[in-house]
């Protein structure tokens, strides 16, 4: 497969704030690539550079080997599914989808192609409907049909499922993947939802602080995270300070463990990643480590327990119930241990001492909380409050 899009040494800043620094990335034809990262990591800016809505400060964007830095958006063979869809409110479903073809293609051809698109997104018979009367999921489908009708080489999707509820999101993930495979169009997909990225992508590009942290297949990124940030952002991780004694031998929490990693310097300090689902809870006498259970949460498939091991809080997922305040043994297989080089993120993440669902909300820069801890305003990446969030000071006070 050939390189369809190439970003070379891209730097971009807004008002002196660096959003992308020296970014290099190529995307192959027919690939489903996901740009994954928290808000402000530069993923949307990357997408907008490819779409032609921003120009890089330095570096080149290549499309099929040709430099397209100065090619305006309307001349690029790239179409976009915008965050919150950006459907034209003055046009009905048919005219929204037909927008790119109007005055370029004969009327009958427009009709057949729009009908094809309506079939593809399962909206047959919706052509005459007002777009504002559609549900979020239906608007989403119209946006996809509108972007695909011109048969672009590349489809850019900017958090397309962010506004949908969980069930619908799962269905749409499946449908998007099918559409991508059926049409053979390259998809570049932006999301902050790691689960979405893992289940849909051929390749995941993990970004943070305007830099690519790791590029790889979903299994690579999950099983072999390159640094503490990736390990923490993709799935749950316990990230412990360790020292590589020699190949296949790592020291942490006061003892040496067998592992499958090699190639580090003798006694090199490292980050040790252990996934919560890879830890076995065993009777105290059989444990390699011992811990004190401080919190137990029932999650349906398993229990999620927070365990104090020598002052470091571990998250462990177990199907067997253990009581709060009990002491347990911890057993770790060699293949459950993953060793990473130290990075700028080391020591800042990976401990679950402050872990709770509320902390997730508080530490999410997209969510603003009022003094009672209620969500008052969900902010877009562009910093504007959304309209569909109920105003907390007004809600439910009328009698």
């Amino acid at each position: 497969m050939s390189k369809l899009i190439e970003l070379k040494g891209i730097t971009k800043s807004f008002d002196g704030e660096v959003v992308l620094s020296d970014m290099n990335l190529y995307i192959r034809d027919r690939e489903f690539v996901t740009l994954l990262g928290p808000s402000g990591c530069g993923k949307t800016t990357t997408l907008r550079l490819i779409g032609g809505f921003e120009t890089p400060d330095t570096g080149d964007i290549l499309f099929d080997g040709e430099r397209i830095n100065d090619v305006p958006a309307y001349k690029r063979q790239v179409n976009t599914v915008f965050q919150r869809y950006a459907l034209f409110p003055h046009l009905n479903v048919f005219d929204n989808i037909a927008f790119a073809l109007k005055r370029k293609v004969p009327k009958e051809e427009i009709r057949t192609r729009v009908d094809e698109m309506l079939d593809m997104v399962a909206l047959r018979g919706f052509g005459h409907r007002n777009v504002n009367s559609l549900s979020g999921g239906q608007q989403q489908r119209v946006a996809i049909a509108r972007a695909l009708i011109n048969r672009p080489r590349v489809l850019l999707l900017d958090e397309p499922l962010g506004a949908l509820d969980l069930k619908l999101r799962k269905d749409m993930q499946f449908e998007l993947k099918n559409i991508q495979q059926a049409t053979g169009i390259t998809f570049i997909y932006v999301t902050h939802d790691q689960e979405e990225a893992l289940s849909m992508s051929d390749t995941i590009v993990v970004m943070q602080n305007g830099k690519i942290q790791q590029i790889g297949t979903p299994t690579d990124v999950y099983n072999e995270p390159k640094n503490a940030f990736v390990a923490d952002f993709i799935g749950e991780s316990n990230i412990v300070d360790g020292v590589m004694r020699e190949d296949y031998k790592v020291f942490f929490d006061g003892r040496v463990f067998d592992c499958l990693d090699r190639g580090f310097d003798k006694n090199e300090p490292v980050d040790v990643v252990i996934r919560p689902e890879d830890v076995d809870v065993v009777p105290l006498d059989r444990g390699m480590l011992r811990g004190h259970v401080t919190k137990v949460t029932f999650k349906g498939v398993h229990y999620e327990i927070i365990v104090d091991v020598n002052g470091f809080m571990w998250m462990i997922q177990t199907t067997d119930y253990v009581g709060v305040d009990s002491d347990i043994g911890i057993y770790i297989e060699p293949d459950a241990i993953h060793i990473m080089k130290k990075s700028e993120f080391s020591g800042t993440i990976g401990d679950y001492s402050s872990f709770s669902d509320e902390m997730d909300e508080i530490s999410n820069p997209d969510v603003e909380l009022d003094e009672h801890g209620n969500v008052i305003d969900r902010l877009d990446s562009d910093g504007e409050p959304s309209e569909d969030e109920p105003d907390a000071t007004e809600g439910g006070n009328d009698d």
Binding site: T80, F82, F99, T393
Partner: protein, 291 residues
């Protein structure tokens, strides 16, 4: 009261005031409407359909439809349409250009546009008259170029110019505020789907700003068709519009003149209502003026 008001007492808001309080707070507004909106309308209709003795007659309306008055009516409608059209053609590109400026410059330009409105309409119109006079500054400038002097005043041109000058801000502001509110992502979507800047303006911005255009048209057409001062001052009373005739009739202070004045006002009212009904059909009522 719901449970929530108990849980969060800081949010309690008096939701229903006693009837007496509401009646008292609404009363001044009601009285105002009664005295200054409803009563004059009743009088206009009463004088239109009665003779000096107070009995019903259609004679007043018939007289208003005589050729002399019809000429004035026709001229009023025509000049109002002309000035509205010119305002629209000038205002739309300007409003569009303002929305493309930096936010700080936008408010500055809007302020500059509002500035003339702080000056009384009479003074603005007198100044325009001075500018246009045969020995005024404009003809002085043209004289240096070897043109003129041109008698700008006492012409329909002068009156239309006066209307456009006075009412242009009322066209710009509603159009500007509607365009400024259009989601920038819609313009990006249009570009993404193959529209250049010009096509984006015509296929997305223009159709989405119809409500602002409708408001602007209403706000310029209504005062233009009923003005009397602009025409009187810029033509020395020689070109009369429907407003001039009404003013002249009413100021005679006798019953017969009141009746003709009322009949003309009645016709004017109908014209305005019809024009607003037409424009409202094209607006989607958000940002538009509703009859």
């Amino acid at each position: 009261m719901t449970d929530e008001t108990v849980v969060a007492p800081a949010r309690v808001r008096p939701s229903r005031k006693p009837a007496i309080v509401r009646a008292v707070t609404v009363a001044p507004h009601g009285l105002w409407c009664l005295l200054f909106i409803l009563a004059p309308l009743v009088f206009v209709v009463y004088y239109t359909f009665t003779d000096p003795s107070g009995s019903f007659t259609m004679a007043n309306l018939k007289e208003v439809f005589s050729p002399a008055y019809l000429t004035v009516l026709k001229r009023s409608v025509l000049l109002a349409l002309e000035s509205t059209a010119i305002c629209l053609l000038l205002a739309y590109p300007l409003a569009l250009a303002i929305t493309r400026m930096k936010p700080r410059n936008q408010s500055l330009v809007i302020l500059l546009l509002m500035l003339p409105m702080w000056i009384n309409l009479l003074i603005r119109t007198y100044s325009l008259k001075l500018l246009l006079e045969t020995n005024g500054p404009l003809n002085g400038f043209l004289g240096r170029l070897g043109i003129g002097p041109i008698g700008f005043l006492n012409s329909e041109f002068a009156i239309v110019l006066g209307m456009v000058y006075n009412y242009l801000p009322y066209m710009i502001l509603p159009i500007y505020s509607v365009i400024a509110k259009i989601d920038p992502r819609l313009k990006e979507a249009a570009a993404d789907l193959g529209c250049n800047g010009f096509q984006t303006t015509f296929r997305v911005v223009l159709p989405l700003s119809v409500s602002g255009i409708v408001s602007g048209i209403t706000m310029v057409f209504v005062p233009s068709i009923s003005t009397f001062f602009i025409s009187k001052s810029l033509s020395d009373g020689r070109i009369r519009l429907i407003g001039d005739v009404i003013e002249q009739r009413i100021s005679l202070h006798n019953a017969a003149a009141y009746e003709i004045g009322s009949a003309l006002s009645f016709i004017l009212m109908i014209l305005i209502i019809v024009s607003m009904l037409i424009t409202n059909r094209f607006g989607d009522n958000d940002g538009g003026v509703v009859v």
